[in-house]
Symmetry: D2
């Protein structure tokens, strides 16, 4: 009420404008002197203007080196494919780099799997469809049919694949077939089935889960009930990459909320869902913006 509407563009519009000319380079390699010099000189000579830069060394002596750069592409003196092949030939090979060059304009395809709770799903749908989260959603897969309406009203395909004790393998195969070639990332937005190692290995470090506790506290079932019984004063949520070890994958983001003796288990759950959706949103956003690099069972997250 207090102020006049600002005349500036919406956040989504601004994001689009920036994305159109932004590229990103991620590097992991053995740490040794000269890497930054080699990479930045290569980019400079090809006309790339570095606009963001972050790096991390896991250990001062003989550790692993992690680097993330953003640069602007309008001044490039060669094609995108040439830049990539030149980078491999002239820099990456010499330093033993694993690397990745991406264009911000190439939005990742994010499939969502969900059971019955809608809070995390809706957050992702709302943000993506509003242009705030740089992704496209090719499909939602659920073991229940409850959330079909919410999803289809955005024009997104909704696949109901019931899971029972007996059809678990077939159900996963069905999901894998649907996802085949359609998804760069799978987000488990409170999907209450445990994925098999076979499923997981199709998307290494590309399945993101939201766990409803502050891991490693309260693994297993009913964490809010467990938290209530233990009488903790903070509850939390954890977003992590899914690996074969249940609840043990590399943590991307966590957060907590303050609670007291006045909160019932149901109230812990309601409050926790707020934390869950915020934590998942940040973890997914960072993955979509190529800000997360897995380092063994941990993550390096180059936030702003």
């Amino acid at each position: 009420m207090a102020t006049q509407p600002s005349s500036d563009a919406s956040p989504a519009e601004i994001q689009d404008a920036v994305a159109a000319t932004t590229a990103r380079l991620l590097i992991v390699c053995p740490d040794r002197p000269g890497i930054i010099s080699a990479v930045s000189t290569f980019l400079y000579h090809h006309g790339a203007n570095i606009t963001d830069f972050d790096q991390h060394a896991s250990d001062p002596d003989a550790g692993t080196f992690f680097l993330r750069m953003e640069f602007q592409t309008p001044g490039l003196d060669c094609s995108w494919d040439t830049l990539k092949s030149n980078f491999e030939a002239r820099v990456a090979r010499q330093y033993g780099m694993e690397w990745q060059l991406t264009l911000a304009a190439d939005r990742k395809r994010m499939a969502i799997m969900v059971s019955r709770h809608d809070h995390a799903l809706l957050e992702l749908l709302w943000r993506t469809m509003g242009g705030d989260l740089p992704a496209v959603i090719p499909m939602v897969i659920s073991n229940h049919d409850d959330l079909r309406g919410e999803v289809e009203r955005f024009g997104i395909p909704y696949h109901h694949i019931p899971v029972t004790r007996d059809n678990k393998v077939e159900a996963e195969q069905q999901a894998l077939q649907l996802l085949e070639g359609q998804a760069d990332l799978v987000v488990l937005a409170r999907y209450m089935q445990i994925l098999s190692p076979d499923f997981v290995q199709h998307y290494p470090h590309r399945i993101i889960n939201i766990h409803h506790s502050f891991l490693p506290a309260f693994v297993g079932a009913n964490p809010y009930q467990q938290a209530w019984e233990r009488g903790v004063k903070l509850i939390g949520a954890t977003s992590h990459y899914v690996t074969d070890d249940l609840d043990q994958g590399p943590i991307i983001e966590q957060n907590v909320a303050r609670v007291s003796h006045r909160h019932s288990p149901a109230e812990l759950k309601a409050l926790g869902q707020e934390v869950e959706r915020g934590v998942l949103l940040r973890a997914v956003r960072w993955h979509l913006e190529d800000r997360v690099i897995v380092d063994g069972n941990k993550t390096v997250v180059f936030t702003r």
Copy 2:
């Protein structure tokens, strides 16, 4: 993924069950000994079981006394109307109390006014329609037509009342007629027009605004631009009751988020909208649950 679906009821269902038997008593009066004894004894003798209790004295000597009680109604020995008239006759009059007895099951009617930003509106719609926020929404009024689709898909009437320099008085009259007898509360969910004192006096301490700064910093237009220019390290939002003095009404809730030199004005705005919707949601919830009492130009907020 880690846990099985819990079998318990949804937060909305639990809230409904509790609300069905819960009543609330709010009191403001000059402070003097014996008030708690008089009130609790009255309720006890009428079969009310007090389940929550909070109080505040503005000053140890000769200040104002504020009290909020929740009690359960199943054991009441009289009708609701009789309880109210007896309370006035036997307790309130003697202590000079202003008081209010409400049933949690009687959901307040919350009209929403909005301009073009949808983040605060959608938060309120989503929460209310999902049963999490104990209100009914009789209508949304806007000076633009942009958000009609989002509102009407929930079956809520959307009234477009354009406001220009010349029709301001008429536009307010039109809004007042629509609201007449339909609203217990008006929420300005980023409504970018200044309401006249005439409008405000129709809903004393019943219009809640969200201001996009940490008041009293950055009053006036474009607070995020102002914040960026000043180089603050935290940005904030403030929810307050609307009074005749612009941005000066009693503050109900505030919150902040951490920012750095890396945030552009547009990014401050995007981040700030997250803060805004959380702050407004809490302020509205507290009002709906009869947790806020105005004390001059301040508020007493009996949170959990």
Copy 3:
């Protein structure tokens, strides 16, 4: 620099003035209607002016009722001892109450046990000697002699009781003899020896420990190293009453701090010590102000 020195009294002076006339009543009893009426009417008839009031019911049906009141004593119509015996005879017995009446002016005697880390100890010493924490410190006991100088310069006796694998029982006996009749509360300000059940039973719910993790995560040794290896994004600290079960006692307070891949184990430790001293300070303060009631293996904490 911007403002003139304020002329008001120091926080310690204000606290003293308030404490001189303030009494506190804590109650635990089976929940049933009429308790608030009975207690508040009793106090009113004896001239006590209730200035703060908080209550909690563990369960709406047949649960336990917890109550904390602060009241002012100048208008009391009887002696403090008479008030207590009357309360037992006329109210407490009828409702099966466990209760406690204390005067804020009677500062609790807080013995401190510590090993080598000084951060938690210094926080408590500094706050207590500055008048901010309402306690007296009769002694500090340590299994090392390192911190003697810091303690003795405040005029507080420092007892060095070395603990080895062989003399554990004797060392505890020596500590118990020193504490005998001298301490209302024992604070373990990073005391790195496990107390025996025999020791603990001398001070039931009157030994407060600070654990350097967000319990129940990272029980056992080297929690910061554990946290680093797991790659968590928040580290925490927990203050709890000591029971026979290691790290399992009722939690009084917890807090966390945000960390990233950039923090080494040593940096987690340094940051964690900040969290530890804040958490312990709040837990101790709440105990000293009679704000904590143990409810099984949980706590009810009536904070402001």
Copy 4:
């Protein structure tokens, strides 16, 4: 109690070991392509191993470029002075850089000015003398004699320079003479006198103040009283460089704490002092570690 003492070195010892071989480079210059390549190649060719790197561009087009690097010195192929002169000749001149090369082992000399409140002073003394804050304290100057004992027990000279309405100019001259050649930084740890522009210009962007409000809210006298009267729900503190404009200098750090209607002005003050000492500590630490670069009336802060 739960864990055995860890065998690792203290944070101060670890910090010393790292500092012995760490150097830092700060750069400000007009933004143009090639800077990172030029700087990193220069360091690489001189045997410096870059271990931390951060940069910022104020504007994508024609803005200012800010850079901070940490590198390890053991492999340097030349003297420290040669490195500096070569950097100026071969890199800095070409790009129009303002730059600064420092050795972490060269601790800055931090003079402290204080009036009567001891909380901020003690935090700085405690941290510095414990080795946690990388500084040396050559002196404390106060317009009162109250805190002499606290300061002198650490062996630090304490200079009492009373300030009256009539001797303000002489008092400042006396302080400037004491500081002459002795201080790299002046910290106003609640010094309640306004410094003249003449004083300020002796230490441009090298005087750090702690203001007891969340600037720009509540400038001027008695901010806690102002905050109480306005009924805010958060109080804050701000640390900034001192300039000629009172309370208007570049902000380095801010933080807030949640308050409610229950807090008296005196309680706001007590709680605020906690916030103040934390905010000032972080701001001073960042300055001492060469993490802050002034950008007009704002700061770029390269935190970890």
